[in-house]
Amino acid sequence: MPHRYLPHTPDDLRRMLAAVHASDIDALFEAIPEDLRRRAHLDLPDGMGEHALKAHLQDLASAVRVPEPEGMFLGGGAYNHFQPGVVDFVISRSEFYTSYTPYQPEVSQGTLQAIFEYQTLICQLTGMEVSNASLYDGASGLAEALLLARRVKKRPKMLLARSIHPDYRAVARTYLSGSDAEIVEVPFTKAGTIDRAALEKALDTGVAAVAVQSPNVFGCVEDLRAIGEMAHQAGALLVAACTEPISYGVLRDPGTLGADVALGDGQSLGLPPSYGGPWFGFFATRQAFVRQLPGRLVGQSHDANGRRGYVLTLATREQHIRREKATSNICTNQSLCALAGAAFLATLGKTGFAELARQNLAKAEYAKRVIRDEAGLAFPFSAPTFNEFVVEVKDDPERVLGRLREEGLLGGIPLGPWYPELERAILVCVTEMNPKSAIDRLARGLKA
């Protein structure tokens, strides 16, 4: 029975089987033991027509009751931003999304140039010298940064601020669990940032890297310069993760502040939350470490006629050449998502990106003001924040959030499950998508 995805007609099958001297398709599988084949039946329903399938998916979607973006105050690693129409237009171009990794540059200049531009844009945002072509996400980026530090510094210890997003720390732990690296967590203070006294104490000559996140999981901005100086003094690298790259539009870049690696999730740069992905992890470092970079790199070159062109380069770092000696096992990365990020930055541009960051900051500051002054709630942390912050509520957070949900607001993330000592705390994120009226409703609801 013919299917729209399968072009083989009965007549085609006859002709092809004759050409391969087989009586039927089963004959092609003779290398497979009989009993394996006998048991291989798929107990799955029959295929669906396009119309029925669309209806089924729409049914599933109607069992997802996510509120309008204006009532969304969840952050904590995934942010509620506007996606310009241009971004989806770009990643919907067939030639971008139906192509493979650009191993054949003569028919892949589109992807290659776009990724070369992406690398440049990430360097501009982070103030670093080189960026790779993307990693899976910020969390595995943190793991790769620690592995890089381990290779570069040949020291086993990794100091991780506890104010780093718990998923980042969890993934780093998983990635390093097979190795001899040792992860030590450094507590945070009442400011909501890394405890520098504790850091000072933990810093010894066994430390390869100090990793912090800024803004961190509480939305607080870390003093990267001071932390970097401490790390460097001890001969360790400063790894500067970032929850929210829009903050680069208003916060000094990690490169200037002394970071050796800057990384994070690129979701805010034009990608929908999509219940967790796909997004992309950006990863940038100093020129000195370029041969230690994990993942792909696009470089400039020229063709036989002297025309400029782009190619994948420095592949001797990678698994398909170096195998077990590679800097990372990554192969497929997040190319299309990185392209979306580049298109987002190109569309917003210098002015738009600055404006966006500024409005996020202003909205969050306004929210803090009304929550404090009008709802009368307190903030457990004192450090400055970008577009999210922690607020302490007076009732069980789940109850508070449940009430807000009934009003069409997703009011924040309860921090108790991640930080038992913060059982009354809610992480609230405010972006350009939240109008003043929704912020005011949120404040009222948090109080109640």
Binding site: S94, G110, P384
Partner: protein, 490 residues
């Protein structure tokens, strides 16, 4: 530059070479809250003005830039893309729509499960489909791609052995393996022991037995292997590995040959990964995103990455996995890809998936059969979903695999995978996939045959190829010698 203007269509300048100060492609409405002073909030020196160097373009500039770039690319929608080991099948348009359904796309990964039932149901159903196809007991959807799946899988292997007192130190990997296999082992601090495959391209039980001991944590193999051959001895080999307490890891990159034909779960496989971006039609996106779910047999399920979707009392819930290896990714993995893969599986259904594999194998055999006369074929007999030929005969005329690959571009095709697997010198690894019709296969083979003739009659036509692409052959050596990895102002 040796090319005169107007002699070829112009290339596209970089984003940074376009635009003008003050030009905008986007703007926000004025804020409805008071403006703030970043210097005052963060302290001078911690705040920052506009990011230097960001492009300044109007909307049409951006649209044109990327439209033009896209036209320099080849994709599955442009034509046959017989890239071996990559399964470049058709990426259905419906799937792109599905992943963009607003309720899916707008869902925050930390929103409560009560309001996310549709998504959790989908993920749960996809897990069941993957279990049915593979014969595994449970599957995690978390890994981002094949390589991350391998890492997760090998960490599960490690967790298993650790729980039995000793993580062990070695992993056996055939010489035909993809580079990610040894690289993933290394990440888990396993020493890679390379096993030579036999003259027929298959892994031989004796070779495995010779290396198998109680310090070997696992054998990691791909089946069909990267020569496109089914590892006929797989169960015997699995028995050898199991006998010494080892586990069998199965790289599912080539699963497109086997849906409804044979299940890894029946072959003695303990852990495996899927590449949804191969077998389940999610688009490759110029190099990602992928999705690399990992399946395990029942006793290993306790080590899966956390959390996992379960159905309890009619509600889908996200359960922690207490003995888990931990998290592989933030949140729940590439849900956008799960949606696409699910839509694909439902579109085909059980029968359609089985047909897909059967036609994929038929296509590869057909191509091989037609190429036999003109190209050297390294392994005798039938193949599974892909086939390998080499440049051995063309070498006599100074024509190499790379030249044949580039010349194919002039005929309108993407080249096959070249020089892989490493064990076959000058390999051209051709995976047509089931999406290609007989006519397309014939046209592709005709081009290959024409090139074989050209190699004899006019070898420079082939070694000078491509002639009709937007750029000519690129200098990759120069690029690596003095890497230019970003644009910098002149």
């Amino acid at each position: 530059m040796n090319v005169k203007p107007g002699a070829t269509q112009p290339l596209e300048p970089l984003l940074f070479e376009k635009g003008s100060p003050g030009r905008v492609g986007w703007s926000l409405p004025p804020a409805d809250v008071p403006d703030v002073d970043p210097d005052a909030i963060f302290g001078k020196g911690a705040a920052r003005g506009p990011v230097e160097g960001l492009p300044e373009l109007s909307e049409v500039d951006v649209v044109r830039h990327y439209t033009r770039l896209s036209r320099l690319n080849y994709g599955v929608d442009v034509g046959m893309y017989p890239l071996g080991s990559c399964t470049m099948k058709y990426n259905p348009k419906l799937n792109e729509w599905a992943a963009r359904i607003p309720a899916f796309a707008r869902s925050h990964p930390l929103q409560p499960p009560e309001i996310s039932q549709g998504l959790l149901a989908l993920m749960h159903a996809l897990e069941r489909i993957l279990c049915e196809v593979s014969g595994m007991a449970r599957v995690t959807l978390q890994p981002a791609a094949g390589a991350q799946g391998e890492l997760a899988g090998m960490l599960i292997v490690r967790a298993h052995h650790k729980a039995h007192g000793n993580p062990r130190h070695k992993v056996l990997v055939p010489d035909t393996a993809h580079g990610t296999n040894p690289a993933s082992c290394a990440l888990c601090d396993y020493e890679v022991v390379t096993i030579k495959s036999g003259p027929t391209g298959l892994l031989e039980p004796a070779a495995v037995a010779a290396h198998m001991d109680e310090d070997v944590a696992a054998l990691m193999l791909t089946n069909p292997n990267t020569c496109g051959l089914f590892e006929t001895h797989i169960r015997e080999i699995a028995d050898i590995v199991h006998a010494k307490g080892g586990l069998v890891y199965y790289d599912g990159a080539n699963l497109n040959a086997l849906m409804g034909v044979a299940k890894p779960g029946h072959m003695g496989v303990d852990v495996m990964h899927f590449n949804l971006h191969k077998t389940f039609s999610t688009p490759h996106g110029g190099g990602g995103p992928g999705s690399g779910p990992v399946g395990v047999v029942e006793p290993l399920a306790r080590y899966l990455p956390t959390p996992i979707v379960n159905l309890r009392d009619g509600q889908y819930v996200l359960d922690d996995v207490p003995e888990s290896i931990g998290k592989m990714k933030s949140f729940h993995g590439h849900v956008g890809m799960h949606i696409r893969a699910y839509a694909y599986a439902l579109a085909l259904g059980g029968k359609g998936l089985a047909q897909s594999s059967r036609y994929a194998v038929l296509n590869a055999n057909y191509v091989l059969e037609r190429l036999r006369g003109a190209y050297h074929v390294p392994y005798a007999g039938r193949v599974m979903h892909e086939c390998i030929v080499t440049d051995k005969r063309q070498n006599d005329h100074g024509v190499k695999t790379l030249d044949i690959a580039k010349r194919l571009m002039d005929y309108g095709y993407h080249p096959p995978t070249v020089y892989f697997p490493l064990v076959v010198p000058g390999a051209l690894m051709i995976e047509p996939t089931e999406s290609e019709s007989l006519e397309t296969l014939d046209a592709f083979v005709d081009a290959m045959l024409a090139i074989a003739r050209e190699a004899e009659e006019d070898p420079e036509l082939v070694t000078g190829a491509p002639h009709t692409t937007p750029v000519a052959r690129l200098d990759e050596v120069e690029a690596a010698r003095k890497p230019i990895l970003r644009w910098t102002p002149a």
